[in-house]
């Protein structure tokens, strides 16, 4: 699974943050989450679909997501995830951390 050159590998741990972010828009299932992330990044970010589900279950275990079976738009049964209050707080924390980190990296890189 060699990623195409114009697509970027995810930094470790950012996948979970982005999952939380996409769910801010409303409950969604695994496939839609992956697609949303890819679309929101203009197809630059390539989601490893294999690590998506472990990440979802891990977040659910921590109480940041709540999973529930429901019928999707296409009439299929899918497991929908919803952001919990704790998940919302966690997202805010992660987001501010991320912004500080991204800002710092940007300041370091700009002179080049």
């Amino acid at each position: 699974m060699k990623p195409p050159l114009d697509r970027l590998e995810l930094l470790q741990g950012t996948l979970e943050m982005m999952i939380l972010r996409t769910l801010l828009l409303g409950p969604s299932n695994g496939y839609q989450i992956a697609k949303t992330i890819e679309q929101m990044s203009d197809e630059v970010l390539q989601i490893d679909h294999g690590s998506l589900y472990p990440a979802l279950h891990r977040l659910e275990k921590r109480g940041w997501l709540a999973g529930k079976w429901s019928v999707s738009d296409t009439g299929r049964k899918a497991r929908n995830y919803r952001l919990t209050a704790a998940g919302r707080r966690q997202l805010l924390q992660e987001k501010s951390k991320w912004e500080r980190l991204a800002g710092a990296i940007a300041r370091v890189m700009r002179p080049a």
Binding site: M1, L11, Q12, G13, T14, E16, M17, N29, G30, Y31, A34, D48, H49, G50, S51, Y53, P54, A55, H57, R58, K61, S72, R76, K77, A78, R79, Q90, E94, K97, W98, L101
Partner: protein, 907 residues
């Protein structure tokens, strides 16, 4: 990224290790979870729809999602807890490590099995004998009551009839008291069958309610049946009921004949009831209140149950007052300066007091063996660990935490300990079987010694303890931070750095020290036992057959018929081919029974004599024995002066006596004992009492009547034909043979039956066996202690060898360079031996210090040898030093054979 960032890591580190370790995968983890399956299926379908209609839509979807099984596994570990699963992995891995190193595993398991087996066996005994509660109601409230006349060397005196009634009537501390006497024999049955001898106990009716023991059939005897003339009822032991009556449930009311008299069977005692020994039948004591025996006839054992709320101390105070009352009331019997007293001992204490020191010493000994085994295994693990340093370093580098690695190593040592304890349990069960066989006469409740739940828990606890003990050192050592450089280090072939070597040396020194202590203990026991065997008992034990018989009063009333029976039996036996001499004695030395009686002396002012008012002569307590002519000759008890008894000493001839040299020296120091007169009875109805005098016609050597390690009382012998008390009704016939005494058993028995075909012969033993019986306990402790010491010595030798051999193999490079620089094989050899000796000496010095302070606890087990016996304390260290030397020998030779070229080329 903190919390989120950390989330991904376990997948990589742990996942890698999981895959490395478990080629076959954990089945549980890959079992499908329908929810996750459905979720993944949905995802695949959606991916497939993206390329609807195109041929590669399926492969695209699968490629995009990746390995579904891996995803399932990862989620499984997350949800079901990583810990349990990973402990399973640790176990599997540990098992494989054990399989891969069969020699190491076998050595470690064998060492552990020895250590744990010994501990399991000895703990079972300790548990059953010292810790288990007695099988009676509230056993801790039952006490044994003793009288004492300390100034007469009688620290434990049974009760006489009047004393027992006084105690029962006037004590304030006890709910109830009971008197009993056990170990009597009875001739069973009668006319039709071969005569059988069974053991019989007598007790007051209060005994069974006091113990809280209820018959499984019928009832115990009532106080009414415990009256003289009404006491013809009997309770059977469970085994007798089973063997003689085939467990007949309608046994009550049937008749059993004991010593020719009919007894009505009223009950059967529960299985395993063994109070006061192995009595096959119990009958009422039937003490006569109206006509009690002499106050000085101390025959009855007494137990009592404390009143609710009463303490032992209160009981002692009450017994003290009781003794004072008796002293005031009967000054002739108890005073004034006889050291009279009455005291109580908790029943358990009474039963185990003699055996406890031996058991505790053995417990300590097996504890040492286990510690040595642990040190040994720790050493083996350390040696092996240095071979694994690389593996551990790689794991650490891959992200395994220190705790995780320690846990893995501990799992390995615990698994080893569990396997070892399984083997140990088997060994312990076998050892227990052996101990039970050897100790039937020594330990109380020997039948109840078994591997019960408590013992299993004990063994399990030991396994855990040892596993952690010998696993921790290598684990800590291996995960030590400085070890991170081990990869490069081991690449240069010089692993097992100084720190590891030091730890191994410490363990070896500890092993040597512990085994020195153990071997010293065993050495002292051996020396003491040799001293014991060297004691001259006053007779020769070889080539003597002994057999006991007891004439029933119904067919042999007191009088000349009794003596005539033995005379006839002995005369017939003397005619048998192979018989040198034969004789009989009322109580055989070192046999099961003993008894004493007072002897009055006509003419002596010895300080050892007691006096009572209204009686002109002093008296003293002696071992009083009735013998036939030929007895002293058969036993080869040396005649010091005068003559032995002959057939001319009859009931009509003048009274005669023989005393032992101790008697003569005590009573007539510096005088000729021959011709002096002593007495054991008074002329009937004489007032004031007039003794029946017996003239001393001979002096013989002192005999150890109880045991080799007990000097015993002064002794007086009288002809059985002149026995005034019916004391020679039961006699032991002794036969000196020219060949193997056991070959005469059936011929001699035939001669007894020829005189009276209803007379059973019992306790048929060679004199060697009788004496060996009195040595059973020291012999048992000695053999166990020696066995444990030998195991300890072997383990220590293995330990020294292992460390030296490993040291040499680790230092091959260094040795090779030394050789290349001109060192000779002899130098190498001296260097290695020197190292071994240094360790040995250090261990020996420490061990000596430990032994010196610990052996004093062995004092109760030792006879004729000090706890700091210089011989033992010289030989044992030398022996262990030799062991250390020999154990370094082979590694030293190997060091001398290192070829410098080969070693240097390996680099």
């Amino acid at each position: 990224m903190g919390a989120l960032g950390g989330g991904n890591r376990p997948r990589h580190a742990a996942g890698l290790i999981v895959r490395l370790r478990l080629p076959w995968r954990s089945r549980r983890a890959s079992e499908s979870d329908p929810d996750i399956d459905a979720e993944l299926r949905y995802h695949l379908e959606m991916l497939g729809e993206e390329r609807e209609g195109r041929p590669d839509s399926g492969t695209y979807a699968h490629r995009k999602l990746g390995n579904a099984t891996l995803i399932r596994e990862e989620i499984y570990y997350m949800n079901h807890g990583f810990l349990l699963e990973s402990i399973g992995q640790d176990l599997v891995y540990a098992a494989r490590t054990m399989r891969k190193n069969p020699l190491f595993t076998a050595t470690a398991v064998a060492a552990l099995a020895l250590g744990i087996g010994a501990n399991t066996a000895i703990f079972s005994v300790v548990h059953a004998v010292l810790l288990n509660s007695l099988p009676y109601r509230e056993p801790e409230r039952i006490v044994k009551v003793w009288g004492q006349l300390t100034h007469d060397s009688l620290p434990q005196l049974p009760f006489s009839d009047p004393e027992f009634f006084d105690l029962a009537d006037t004590n304030r501390a006890f709910d109830s008291v009971a008197a009993y006497y056990s170990g009597f024999g009875a001739n069973l049955g009668g006319d039709d069958a071969t005569p059988v001898r069974i053991t019989r106990g007598f007790s007051t009716a209060s005994l069974f309610p006091l113990l809280g023991v209820k018959p499984i059939l019928g009832r115990p005897y009532s106080p009414e049946e415990d009256q003289p003339g009404h006491s013809q009822v009997a309770m059977l032991s469970f085994p007798l009921w089973r063997s003689l009556y085939a467990g007949d449930r309608n046994i009550a009311g049937k008749t059993i004949r004991l010593n020719g008299r009919p007894f009505t069977i009223i009950g059967v005692l529960p299985e395993g009831f063994d109070f006061a020994g192995d009595n096959q039948v119990w009958t009422p004591l039937g003490l006569d209140r109206a006509n009690p025996s002499n106050r000085g006839n101390h025959n009855w054992q007494v137990i009592a149950r404390l009143k609710p709320g009463a303490t032992l101390a209160e009981a002692q105070t009450d017994l003290h007052a009781f003794a004072d009352r008796l002293l005031k009331q009967f000054p002739n019997n108890y005073g004034p300066n006889l050291g009279w007293g009455v005291f109580a001992v908790p029943l358990r204490e009474e039963l185990v007091a003699k055996i406890r020191p031996a058991l505790l010493i053995l417990m300590a000994a097996v504890g040492f063996v286990l510690l040595i085994a642990c040190a040994n295994i720790a050493n083996l693990l350390l040696v092996r660990a240095s071979a694994r340093e690389k593996e551990i370093s790689i794991r650490t580098a891959l992200g395994a935490g220190r705790w995780r690695t320690v846990r893995q190593l501990l799992t390995e040592s615990l698994l080893l300990a569990l396997v070892g304890s399984g083997a140990g349990l088997a060994l312990g069960a076998w050892g227990l079987f052996a101990i039970r066989g050897m100790s039937a006469g020594i330990l109380p409740h020997v039948g109840k010694i078994e591997l019960d739940a408590a013992v299993l828990w004990f063994t399990f606890a030991i396994a855990l303890f040892t596993g952690i003990l010998f696993g921790l050192a290598p684990a800590v050592r291996l995960t030590h931070p400085s070890l991170l450089g081990a990869i490069q280090e081991s690449a240069r072939g010089s692993s097992g750095g100084r720190g590891g070597q030091r730890l191994r040396n410490v363990l070896v020194v500890a092993e040597i020290a512990f085994s020195l202590m153990l071997v010293t203990g065993a050495g002292l026991a051996i020396r003491g036992f040799r001293e014991l065997l060297r004691v001259d008992p006053g007779f020769r034990t070889d080539h003597i057959l002994t057999m006991r018989m007891s004439l029933p009063a119904v067919t042999y009333p007191q009088g000349p018929r009794v003596a005539r029976f033995y005379d006839q039996v002995l005369n017939r036996i003397r005619t048998l081919p192979g018989v040198v001499t034969a004789g009989a004695i009322s109580i055989l030395p070192m046999g099961k029974s003993s008894s004493s009686g007072s002897v009055s002396v006509e003419n002596s002012n010895s300080q050892s004599l007691q006096h009572v008012p209204n009686f002109a002569y002093g008296y003293l307590e002696t071992d009083q024995r009735f013998i036939t002519p030929g007895y002293l000759e058969t036993m080869k008890t040396p005649l010091v002066a005068g003559r032995s008894f002959t057939s001319a000493d009859t009931s009509n001839s003048p009274g005669v006596a023989i005393v032992d040299s101790k008697f003569a020296a005590t009573i007539w120091p510096g005088q000729n004992p021959l011709g002096q007169r002593i007495s054991i009875s008074n002329v009937p109805n004489s007032n004031p009492p007039r003794p029946v005098w017996c003239t001393v016609v001979g002096v013989v050597a002192h005999v150890h009547n109880f045991a080799l390690d007990q000097e015993g009382r002064v002794q007086a012998y009288f002809p059985d034909t002149q026995d005034p008390f019916d004391g020679s009704r039961a006699m032991t016939v002794t036969i000196r043979t020219s060949s193997d005494p056991e070959s005469l058993i059936s011929a001699a028995r035939q001669q007894v039956l020829a005189v009276d075909r209803s007379e059973p012969v019992f306790d048929v033993l060679t004199m060697d066996a009788v004496v060996a019986g009195s040595l059973e306990q020291p012999r048992l402790s000695l053999s166990l202690l020696s066995l444990f010491a030998a195991v300890a010595g072997i383990l220590a030798a293995i330990g020294v060898y292992g460390v030296m051999a490993f040291g040499v193999s680790q230092r091959r490079r260094e040795l090779g360079i030394r050789m290349a620089l001109g060192a000779r094989p002899g130098d190498m050899w001296r260097m290695v031996i020197g190292d071994g000796l240094r360790l040995g000496l250090l261990g020996i010095v420490l061990g000596l210090a430990g032994a010196f302070s610990l052996t004093r606890f062995m004092a109760p087990l030792l006879f004729g040898v000090g706890t700091h016996d210089p011989v033992t304390f010289t030989i044992v260290p030398l022996a262990l030093l030799t062991v250390a030397l020999l154990a370094s020998w082979i590694p030293a030779l190997r060091a001398g054979r290192v070829e410098p070229i080969g070693v240097l080329r390996q680099e």
